[in-house]
């Protein structure tokens, strides 16, 4: 009976049952079989109100939604264009850098492709980049910045795994640069090969663009500096960011109307937060059941029988996470998978901070992996191209990102150097 219900639930989830309902259903079934009171579930959901760090999620999401409105994206593009546009393949580099920056600010929610695609894609085409190159670049750019503060997936990982968010922010910097750097080199190489036009660097334009972007450019750096100088916690940094961005958008740029537009943005951002946090609550309940039923230990015992080397585990982990990444969005993937994997990582001697960076990198790449990576579909509807063309267009970028993934996974120093250095 239970077996049939479990099977049915899995079937429903694959056919599109909202994940929070699927996870709650699984928790109910699990508690029922182990004879535990169902009230264990609300006890876990209430924990959403007990962790100060969770406050950072609605606040940063709100700030991100505000930043995705109005001219922020155009100002950021202009700035990086004036800074990097003179390189061969410069516009490609500009696209990668701006998109990552924007993703870090707005959370990895597919907003980047929608907000920046309309600006950067036509620009790439008009400068004679090949269509598939431009498509692949824009698609993969949609998930590249999530290693940088104040990325929401990092905060969630920190909460779920009990790892210090400050350390994770530091640890993400070098891998984050690597994951932008490798495709950037490719763009420079292609730009040379295709002999694309290179605008000359102009100090005047650079200063003008810098002045334009001067209000928004420092935000991630200020957040990082605030947290590291001990001036504020991540949550407090989120509150300061929100107030700063509200003042910026309403009083300085006058891009958002306080009474007409702001309430709508608040609602939209909190819908997204509701969608993530209700999965978080359900996942807390489900994880609680899993731990009570010794499931992670059982997986551990099974895996230990299967392999005994750290490398073997990491290889399997990468493959598994890529699969997860192309099936699920990054938030639910973190919430559901991290509690299961973490004891394994511990057993194989992998630092939880390093583990977090491996997770993020894998899931970011999974977003672009055929057949169902989310970015592919967002880009397909944004640029009005068939998904199959996007599979082909993203392939070279996917391979490059896999190289970055291998480096990040097998060289823990890339992730651990900075947090250890700044201890």
């Amino acid at each position: 009976m239970i077996f049939i219900l479990v099977l049915l639930l899995i079937l429903l989830v694959i056919s599109g049952l909202p994940l929070f309902a699927g996870i709650l259903g699984a928790a109910l079934l699990g508690l029922y079989t182990s004879g535990v009171e169902f009230t264990a579930i609300p006890i876990e959901i209430v924990r959403l109100a007990n962790a100060p760090i969770l406050l950072a999620i609605p606040l940063f999401s709100f700030a991100g939604y505000l930043l995705s409105q109005g001219g922020t994206s155009a100002r950021l593009v202009r700035f990086s264009q004036s800074l990097l546009g003179w390189l061969p393949g410069g516009l490609g580099v500009v696209a990668l850098v701006t998109c990552s920056f924007f993703t870090a600010l707005t959370g990895a929610t597919g907003i980047t492709i929608i907000a920046l695609g309309g600006l950067l894609y036509p620009a790439l085409i008009s400068q004679h980049y090949r269509e598939n190159f431009a498509l692949g670049l824009m698609t993969t750019s949609g998930s590249l910045g999530l290693h940088f503060p104040p990325s929401l997936p990092i905060i969630l990982y920190g909460f779920v795994s009990g790892t210090s968010i400050e350390k994770l922010f530091m640890a993400g910097l070098i891998p984050g640069i690597l994951i932008i750097g490798i495709p950037s080199l490719y763009s420079i190489y292609m730009g040379k090969k295709w002999r694309l036009d290179r605008p000359r660097f102009s100090a005047g334009e650079f200063l003008g663009a810098l002045k334009g972007a001067a209000w928004e450019l420092p935000i991630p750096f200020l957040i990082l500096a605030g947290i590291y100088s001990g001036l504020c916690t991540a949550t407090e940094a989120a509150a300061l960011t929100v107030v700063y961005v509200i003042l910026l958008k309403i009083m300085i740029f006058k891009e958002i109307k306080l009474l007409q537009e702001l309430p709508e943005i608040m609602k939209e951002s909190m819908k997204m937060v509701g969608g993530i946090m209700i999965i978080l609550g359900s996942a807390l309940a489900f994880t609680n059941y899993l731990v009570d039923a010794f499931i992670p230990m059982k997986i551990l015992a099974f895996m230990e029988g299967l392999m005994d080397s750290k490398i073997g585990f990491l290889i399997l982990l990468n493959i598994f996470l890529l699969l997860v990444g192309c099936m699920m969005d990054i938030f639910s993937a973190i919430l559901v998978v991290v509690p299961l994997i973490l004891p394994l990582a511990d057993r194989f001697g992998i630092d939880p901070v390093h583990m977090g960076i491996i997770f993020l990198t894998n899931l970011a790449i999974g977003y672009n992996t055929p057949p169902v990576g989310l970015n592919l579909f967002i880009a397909s509807s944004r640029f009005d191209r068939p998904v199959v063309q996007l599979y082909r267009a993203t392939l070279p970028f996917l391979l490059l990102l896999l190289i970055a993934l291998v480096l990040i996974t097998y060289l823990p120093g890339l992730s651990l150097f900075l947090p250890n250095y700044f201890k």
Partner: protein
């Protein structure tokens, strides 16, 4: 049907107002806490500390609001049909089957929410009996009332969607 749509709209408007009010409270209180703490620790102003003591209830309040916003936001998200899901079928199934699928899924979600309401009511009655107090000496169950209420909102929304998709299913498959 028109009555239901009207009910849905009014409900959405109330949820929207609540979300906006709560988010403002969240932003303002958290901001003031940071500023006051900064004034006290870096500016050495004793009155900042006194004031912080006066509003010490704001920190747990703001954390509680996270829980409330979660459910209100999720309810509005249900209205848009935009919950996070693994959506393989919508590109495989022929379009005219999609309303039927969505109808079935909404019914399942409604059933799970109904069970959760019962579970949360049980939990709440336990809290009423044994639970302590939270900030401002309020009994802790008053803050947690959003659990059954939130699942009730979600239930309502899923039922409305099930009806909506049910009608579409009948319309798109005329016999």
């Amino acid at each position: 049907m028109i009555v239901l749509q009207r009910f849905d709209r009014i409900l959405a408007r109330i949820e929207g107002w609540l979300i906006i009010a709560m988010l403002w409270l969240m932003v303002i209180f958290t901001f003031f806490q940071v500023v006051l703490r900064g004034l006290y620790t870096h500016g050495h102003l004793p009155w900042a500390n006194t004031l912080m003591g006066q509003i010490d209830w704001s920190e747990p309040l703001v954390r509680l609001l996270v829980l409330w916003i979660t459910f209100l936001g999720a309810s509005l998200l249900t209205r848009d049909g935009k919950h996070i899901q693994i959506d393989l079928l919508s590109s495989i199934l022929p379009p005219r089957w999609l309303p039927l699928r969505d109808c079935i899924l909404s019914v399942v979600c409604a059933a799970i929410c109904a069970i959760m309401i019962k579970v949360c009511v049980d939990y709440l009655s336990m809290e009423m009996e044994f639970g302590g107090t939270m900030f401002l000496a309020l009994p802790s169950w008053t803050g947690q009332i959003i659990l059954p209420a939130g699942f009730a909102l979600l239930l309502t929304r899923f039922v409305l969607r099930a009806i909506d998709h049910g009608i579409q299913t009948v319309r798109s498959n005329p016999r």
